[in-house]
């Protein structure tokens, strides 16, 4: 056993301790921030911070592969996907504050904290001053990455292959829940649409909202020449604004209004 390994087996090196005490509080702050943020986007960003902290821990613990995977896959891919989804579904916090069971929240907090204390104390007692074992063997022959590759294709080969069933199920499930299959007859081609438009009474483009109106907002209908709102300029999916009454144009406008 080399001197360095002996050191690793018995004590934590200074560098590791310093890194831990710097990154540890940051990761913990990220976790707390994630739980207590009102805004879902902020929560996600706090979680990114925690995950980056965990990635650093893995590097320090001589698990470079895990560290890289943590940062690239979790922080890089999954969390960003998460942010995409949050942006798509809207980010307003719509937490229900109505308690269906009286006192449920308080009871849950007390029980949760007590449970965490129990498990934390138990695990802390078990691993405090526990000897470091297995690092030598795990990284002996070609290092961490080679060792992971080896056990992935020997001891854990079946778990690895079985994961493919999981991925197929997930793909099928996503298709089932999100994909609406269209009948061939209900899909209108550009040609159909064009024919229908020229057959209609108004082949030209419709007026957009806001044209000649007092505002160019999307919820303002266009104004016709007589000052009435144009009904067919309404945008779909939003409620149109009520226009102020048409001003009376009988009075002659004053000339040369000073700017």
């Amino acid at each position: 056993m080399t001197e360095g390994a002996l050191l690793a087996a018995e004590a934590v090196s200074t560098g590791e301790a310093v890194t831990f005490w710097i990154v540890g509080p940051v990761a913990l702050a990220g976790a707390l921030g994630m739980v207590f943020s009102r805004n879902a986007i902020h929560s996600a960003l706090w979680l990114v911070l925690t995950m980056l902290g965990l990635g650093v821990f893995y590097f320090v613990q001589q698990a470079p592969f895990l560290g890289v995977v943590q940062i690239i896959v979790y922080t890089g891919a999954i969390m960003i996907l998460f942010l995409f989804v949050l942006m798509l579904v809207g980010r307003e916090s719509s937490d229900s504050v109505v308690e269906t069971l009286r006192g449920q929240r308080q009871a849950a907090i007390v029980a949760g904290v007590a449970f965490a204390a129990l498990v934390g104390a138990g695990i802390g007692r078990a691993v405090y001053d526990a000897p470091v074992v297995g690092l030598e063997e795990a990284t002996a022959d070609g290092g961490n990455v080679v060792a992971i590759a080896r056990i992935l294709f020997t001891d854990y080969l079946f778990a690895f292959e079985l994961t493919s069933a999981l991925l197929i199920t997930a793909a099928v499930g996503a298709m089932v829940l999100a994909h609406v299959e269209k009948e061939p007859s209900e899909r209108r081609t550009q040609k159909d649409l064009s024919t229908a438009r020229y057959a209609s009474s108004r082949p030209g483009t419709l007026t957009g909202p806001g044209v000649l109106a007092t505002s160019n907002s999307l919820d303002t209908p266009a104004i016709l020449a007589d000052g009435q709102p144009a009904a067919d300029s309404a945008a779909t999916g939003i409620e149109m604004r009520e226009l102020p009454p048409v001003p009376d144009h009988d009075t002659t406008p004053t000339k040369g209004t000073p700017r």
Partner: protein, 509 residues
């Protein structure tokens, strides 16, 4: 250069048949025109499950660990795989039922179309349905088989996910009362994901304790170890939470009634029978193979859990007014009965658990198949008051349902009696007399609500606008006939199957 692990394809053949059917099913979904899909999918799925059943019979008696000790091929594993394949066939027949008299298929035409839209109402008038349920069901079945056969906690975890994901999806694909069905799927998914995390955390702690996820490795590490037991005990506790959730054992049972009620009844039949079999298969393997020498850690806990389960299941079932919810609580109570045998930690405990799982699964599939038959204009007539006087409308269906209820209650000459008898005997031999007494009281309470339904069916006046009893389609008829025959046979002449369970009760590894 690494040596690839040896694979016993013969030993794995039941799993490979079902997994193969699932993969072919996904391809069928992509390439076969919609008009033929239903038939082809049913054929593929049945070929896979029947193939698995036949290969289990052919390789019975094998004892080996394959794929670097990841998967066990031994008596309990093969017995559970055979039971799952048989129940899988029966459930697939129910899943595939689409006779017009029973309201067509139970599955939605397109799950992605929002509930209540114009398009949704349009699709409800069409006959086709989402045929993805067949590959999903076979994936779930493969996951269940591996779940009960894995000798390695990591494989067990992946198998747990493989069996759970399709079930979450299938629960949400109901054609009628779609919002209820989707709510059931969401509840099941959230709670299931939560307990999967418990399982995974327990796995990690046990790895921290033993340095291995191999069940035998954990057994060896725990024998005569000087290490602190804290990681071992906490890890085991978390692991057991994950397992008990899948088995629907109180206090982790809260999802059961809602999910059983909301999911399409054929899916409920599949979940209630197969999932319970797989979960108990995994529980006995983990506890006996991995922790058999340390039963002071889990026996007292499971003793208490069994009592809570028995009380919750049988007492709350009394208050139910919906047939599916009543059967859900009855399934919770049955989990308690099975635990009575399991905590024995003896070969008798193992063989009685295996036998009980088989009888319970067959009876449950049958009972839910009958629930599919009693219908009114809105679909299935779930409320118990609608079942009043059913015997006058349809004596045969009422008689068959009564048989299943009597079997669930454990009346002599039905399979349920034999099952209860063997688990109680195993519990008594292991010195769990108080538990057996509580289980007996619980079965008396349970018998009351089963008999109440029978009384309701036979001695009440039928409601004026009561439900009609649909003529079962061919597939449901086959399924019901097998379940009925098995329930009677296992009650009258259980000897051969009991022998089989006894001979199967030996773990490898």
């Amino acid at each position: 250069m690494i040596d690839s692990p040896s694979v016993s394809y013969t030993g794995l053949s039941p799993v490979l048949f079902v997994l193969g059917a699932a993969l072919v099913g996904v391809l069928v979904e992509a390439f076969v025109p919609r008009a033929y899909r239903w038939g082809v999918q049913l054929g593929v799925a049945l070929a896979g499950t029947l193939g698995a059943l036949i290969s289990v019979i052919l390789i019975a008696g094998r004892n080996e660990l394959t794929l670097s000790r990841a998967v066990a091929v031994d008596g309990p594993a093969l017995f559970i795989e055979g039971t799952l394949a048989l129940l899988g066939v029966l459930s697939l027949l129910l899943l595939a039922e689409r006779s017009p008299d029973m309201g067509g298929s139970a599955f939605v035409a397109q799950a992605a179309v929002p509930v209540g839209t114009v398009r949704d109402r349009q699709l409800a008038t069409l006959t086709y349905s989402q045929t993805e349920v067949f590959p999903l069901a076979t994936f779930a079945l493969a996951g269940m088989m591996i779940f009960a056969a894995s000798n390695n906690l990591l494989v067990m975890f992946v198998a747990l996910e493989v069996l759970s994901l399709p079930l979450y999806l299938m629960a949400g694909l109901g054609r009628r009362r779609r919002l209820l069905s989707q709510e059931a799927a969401l509840k099941y998914f959230l709670l299931g994901a939560f307990t999967s995390a418990f399982f995974l955390y327990g796995l990690a702690l046990l790895y921290g304790y033993a340095g291995t996820v191999d069940l035998r490795g954990i057994f060896d590490q725990a024998a005569g170890s000087e290490k602190s037991d804290a990681l071992f005990v906490i890890g085991l506790a978390f692991l057991v939470v994950g397992l008990l959730f899948k088995a629907g054992v109180a206090p982790f049972h809260a999802w059961t009634p809602d999910v059983y009620q909301g999911a399409p009844t054929s899916v409920t039949a599949f979940m209630a029978s197969c999932t319970k079999v797989a979960a108990f298969g995994a529980i006995i393997r983990v506890l006996y193979v991995g922790f058999g020498n340390n039963d002071w850690t889990w026996r007292p806990v499971l003793y208490g859990v069994a009592i809570v389960t028995l009380v919750v299941g049988s007492v709350l079932a009394l208050t139910q007014t919906d047939v599916k919810r009543m059967l859900a609580y009855s399934s919770i109570a049955h989990a308690g009965f099975i635990l009575t045998g399991t905590i024995a930690n003896s070969p008798a405990g193992l063989s009685s658990t295996l036998f009980y799982l088989l009888t319970y699964g067959l009876t449950t599939v049958g009972a839910f198949a009958v629930v599919m038959l009693v219908r009114d204009a809105d679909g299935e007539a779930g409320h118990l008051s609608q079942w009043a006087g059913l015997a006058k409308r349809s004596p045969l269906v009422a008689a068959v349902f009564s048989l299943f209820l009597l079997a669930l209650a454990g009346i002599p000459l039905t399979s349920g009696f034999t099952g209860k008898f063997v688990v109680f005997r195993a519990g008594l031999e292991a010195g769990a007399a108080p538990l057996v007494v509580i289980a007996l009281v619980a079965s008396a309470i349970a018998a009351f609500f089963y008999l109440r339904v029978i009384v309701l069916m036979y001695f009440s006046e039928p409601a004026a606008d009561g439900p009609t009893v649909a003529v079962p389609g061919l597939l449901t008829t086959i399924s019901l006939a097998i379940a009925t025959a098995a329930t009677v046979l296992l009650g009258v002449a259980p000897g051969a199957v009991l022998d089989l369970a006894d001979r199967a009760a030996l773990f490898v590894g």
